[in-house]
Symmetry: C2
Subunit: 659 residues, 2 copies
């Protein structure tokens, strides 16, 4: 063990293990998590070559091998709880998506939700046994966000009782679906349904795309890999071009809508239920923001106590770089953010589970609010974590650029969350739509409940001098800070509403008024989400009994809240929520909090409890023995397989004669 990191651990003021239990949910969950981790990491079948040293085809090959083994072993060991499967999977493919993700995460669940009993009989067990490997082909080359714009067609032919599927244009080629390129032999294809010359909108169809035995593409199917990407090297994201592909009528997923043999169309009962799935996936993404940022923080903070550089005091040994105030100022607010997002993720999961119960009893009242909240929080947390991960990477200096740090990988694996499952700006505007609707309801005299109830009070938050405000802000009190965040959100919602109003007054249409106010709308959503995060972090503190942990968590929460105020000080000053001396005081307090957190920094990342096998980072090793392992890692670089690279003989040596 590196002596620096040992010393850090001795300085901690709280019990790391207990904090891990809080993060995991209970001591029992921590125990079981570690049991599964040990199971995978000690299994020789899951040993892998470092993907950084492989070609893309080899990476894909290795991932398929491990996924196949994983499926087998999950059954063998009888692991069936969804949370446990996720843990197992995250050990088999640490931090990486894999070729079977869409089969497991979209194809099977879609069958469960949308297949008729007859379809379940035909497709589910073969899919469960990986005879059928499926994917979910929704986005097209020219269409992502706007589902109604999808161009793929499924035209019913009553003569043969078949659907004829087509990609009528280049831009209609299905694009991006994971596992579509090489792995899947079936795809659930989203297509515009036509019957008797009428369009009935988007529906889902099960389309066989490859031969069950030879795996060759079937007639009319043009399928392949969409090529290298920023990350995701293990996944064969694919394209699919359909040329008069015929499937039986019974391959349309018909649990809800139907096409009768004669071609007549039967509408689905309700469409609102699909909201639930979106909420669920977005809450998973919030959890992923926390997880990825926690990994990045673990790596950079451990490295920052091992790395010594430059000097603070002349003549003394080079200090640990975590002793520089600038380094603390870069990293500790991000550490606070990682904790904040952990708790937001926990809250969303719990709320989802609670509401799912209501939904199953037909009570959909809370769904719109949850849907709006999940959209905004997905955007808010992924944007924050995305830039934060890069700050962590760059705070490692040169070694942060080496793949051995794992930070480049963490970034490229994470950054797509800003775009998939709802592009972030679109998400922010969805939340804004809900906020504006709520605002108008208040204006019309309604009393709101739930998270937006603060809009009821909008009358009292007109910009005015701080002296005239009823609220006295205590910068050391989290509830008081949550309150100013709330008022800021209310004011920014009002500002966006006014912008729309002004546009309408200058004779713009509703739609143009919305577009011309969208900068303000995004800002309002952002402030709303920021408020929710501060509030949930504050609420969480109430659940923590252990005094030592409560104390360090309070410091983190305070730092999170004050740092957000500092970065958005214009909003708080502009609205008269804080005055200039208070803003100056915020900066002073932040410095104090940084110093206060310094001794606990390593313990706080240790509590995330990532085994080295999961982090896969030389810089983030638990034992802190960075340099010898960096050398060890480098020597395994494929370019070092031979002492002399062939290019010397091919190009450099012959050149001498010519010059």
């Amino acid at each position: 063990m590196n002596p620096d990191i040992l010393k850090e651990r001795r300085n901690a003021t709280f019990d790391v293990e207990k904090l891990t239990h809080i993060l995991d949910g209970s001591p029992e969950r921590t125990r079981r998590k570690r049991e599964i981790e040990t199971m995978v990491f000690n299994d020789p079948d899951f040993q892998e070559e470092d993907p950084n040293f492989l070609s893309r085809s080899e990476r894909y090959d290795q991932a398929v091998r491990k996924s196949a083994q994983m499926i087998q072993k999950l059954r063998e060991y009888g692991i069936a709880d969804p949370d446990e499967i996720l843990i197992y999977k995250s050990c088999v493919h640490p931090g990486r998506l894999e070729p079977l993700d869409l089969h497991l995460g979209m194809f099977l669940p879609t069958l469960l939700n949308q297949a008729t009993p007859e379809q379940m009989d035909r497709f589910f067990m073969p899919a469960w046994n990986l005879e059928i490997i499926g994917t979910y082909a929704q986005t097209e080359m020219g269409h992502g966000t706007h589902l109604r714009g999808l161009e793929t067609t499924a035209t019913y032919d009553p003569a043969t009782q078949e659907f004829v599927l087509n990609s009528p244009t280049i831009s209609s080629i299905k694009w991006w679906a994971g596992g579509l390129g090489k792995t899947s032999n079936h795809a659930i294809v989203l297509a515009q349904l036509f019957s008797h010359g009428h369009s009935h909108g988007l529906h889902a169809f099960i389309v066989p795309i490859r031969h069950m035995s030879t795996h060759e593409p079937l007639p009319g199917i043009v399928v392949g890999d969409i090529g290298p990407k920023f990350g995701f090297s293990e996944v064969d994201n694919g394209f699919l071009k359909l040329e008069n592909v015929r499937i039986p009528r019974e391959n349309m997923l018909m649990k809800h809508a139907k096409v009768e043999p004669d071609g007549s169309y039967v509408k689905p009962a309700s469409t609102k239920l699909t909201y639930g799935t979106m909420v669920f996936i977005r809450s998973l993404i919030v959890g992923q923001s926390a997880l990825s940022l926690a990994k990045a923080c673990t790596i950079v903070i451990r490295y920052s106590v091992v790395r010594h550089q430059s000097e603070i005091r002349a003549g003394e040994p080079e200090p640990q770089i975590l002793d520089y105030q600038t380094q603390q100022y870069k990293l500790f607010p991000l550490l606070a953010t990682a904790y904040a997002f952990k708790f937001v993720g926990q809250y969303m999961k719990a709320t989802y589970n609670r509401i799912i119960g209501d939904i199953s009893q037909g009570d959909l009242t809370e769904l719109p609010e949850l849907h709006a909240m999940s959209a905004g929080l997905k955007a808010f947390t992924t944007w924050s974590a995305n830039s934060a991960i890069e700050v962590c990477r760059m705070s490692c200096g040169g070694h942060g650029y080496s793949c051995s740090s794992a930070l480049p990988d963490i970034y490229v694996q994470f950054t797509p969350t800003c775009t998939y499952e709802g592009e972030n700006t679109v998400m922010m505007l969805q939340t804004a739509r809900y906020l504006l609707k709520s605002y108008r309801q208040v204006k019309a005299g309604q009393q709101l409940s739930g998270i937006v109830s603060y809009l009821n009070e909008h009358e009292r938050v007109q910009p005015q001098p701080v002296s005239a405000r009823p609220t006295v802000v205590d910068l050391n009190n989290l509830s008081s800070l949550a309150e100013v965040y709330k008022l800021r959100a209310a004011i920014l919602v009002e500002l966006a509403a006014k912008s729309i109003q002004q546009e309408l007054q200058s004779r713009k249409s509703q739609e143009d008024a919305w577009n011309n106010s969208s900068i303000d709308l995004v800002r309002a959503s952002d402030a709303h989400c920021h408020y929710i995060v501060v509030k949930l972090f504050t609420d969480k503190l109430g659940e923590i009994g252990d005094t030592a942990i409560h104390s360090v968590m309070s410091t983190l929460a305070l730092l999170y809240a004050l740092h957000g105020i500092k970065n958005n000080s214009g909003d708080f000053l502009q609205a008269g929520l804080l005055n200039v001396p208070q803003i100056l005081q915020v900066s002073v307090r932040i410095k104090e909090l940084l110093a206060q957190l310094r001794p606990n920094a390593v313990a706080l990342v240790d509590a995330f409890d990532f085994p080295d096998n999961m982090l896969k980072s030389v810089l983030g090793r638990y034992d802190g023995n960075v340099y010898e392992n960096l050398f060890e890692w480098a020597r395994r670089s494929p370019l070092n397989r031979t002492e002399v690279h062939e290019s010397f003989h091919k190009y450099l040596k012959p050149l001498r004669a010519k010059l």
Copy 2:
């Protein structure tokens, strides 16, 4: 040509070609640039396989091949002007560094600057003819920023008149030098010189590392590639471990300092001159910030007029995504930034050339200011461009993640500029040191000249209500805005100075006071650099005669300045430089400027004049024919070489039987 992009070009209000001339410096330069571009892009010897489809070893191989051909052709065609060589090189290796970069950019220049005439005879011509291929090995595994901390030793042995070089620890292994891993047979090694038991600090030594004919590592040399990185796949950044490696005394670069045969040491005359090189390299990096951001803007803005998505008005066709206000708000300030940095780069290059003249006549007075300015501006521009490139990438939606967009490559190639040639936070603190020194001089009654002369006026910028200020800010007047940026910088320098003072008053040492104020110091530097950029952009407008171009450039400059105020509104409010109604007005003005720039957006990126062969982006094609080419590109993905990937037969098919 895609009709959308054609329409955009017709809407432009200015002559694109004339703006290109301004960016290039003159019509003649544009002409010559294009001549060289044609020369390279039409040369069959420089045809390449898309590196995205190659393994790392193949990428390295291809780069060596092209570099070797480049050297030959540059001589054949007699291209010797440094600017022209840079253009030629940027076409041969578009947007990518290559294995010979350090040979050309560091090894040869270091010989020129530090070798004795005898050493020039021995090394220069062989290096010029690529018999000797060299690199510059400075950073070590454990040491980057702090040169005095380097551990490699060169101990003089008078008995044999040799230096004995050693890497005494793991952390002292030379690390990161480009071309060191596989390409070079010599390295200039920075090492601590010892003679007669005395240490004489860092000096440079020419060390043969590989056999001239077999290219095998020499005895005592452990050399290799440091492994895969975030980008830079063409470069064999390397490690070098020295184990009692003996070189003749004459291999120490002795133009300045010397070791006599008996081991006595002769000091160099002055060390200040090396400042010049640093300034030069940092000014190049500022230019690179502009270039990389300009490329990213070109890609995303062209794509944003070709891409149609969602709806603004119900029932109408999907709009171009550049018609969304949120998209304009993301991109146009970045376009303005790219132009701003272009002009800053031009200014720095011109200033450097002017001062170099002074230096050669022994006049070093301007050097410290230029040195401080170049440090801060390097950090300011690379940080801005770094995050801006990612915003561009993510503004392309899903396709921004595909390597076909070229945006992932632009990012990974650019991001190291934030760390190399001076880590950015360290750079900001260097500038801060100069600002604080200047501030103290003013306090001591001195009158400053040059860019920091605004500190003379610090007395009048004490925080006070706006009403009491002499300055009336006109939000439509750039000089007036430059003035408030200046006052903001002055106030933040003062704030940092006060923080140091307070620390000292609570009995902290000078050094701890500095460290405990470093957040404020970085902020002051940042504000200082921001002011310089606004000022230089404003100054540049005075040089533009063409009315139409002047008009669109003024709009861009105004947007740059107002956007910066909006993002830092807290600073301006806090200091009483602007009041709340003005800040609200800034937001309104920004929206107007976005609408004003919209028709010129494509023309403004066309003016950067990147040929398609340079951009290498399917999304950024000049003709806008994105979709058909995206499909074309994807089909070339290596995973599509066979219809069925071997992993199907190896893992998936056998699995069926087992489940």
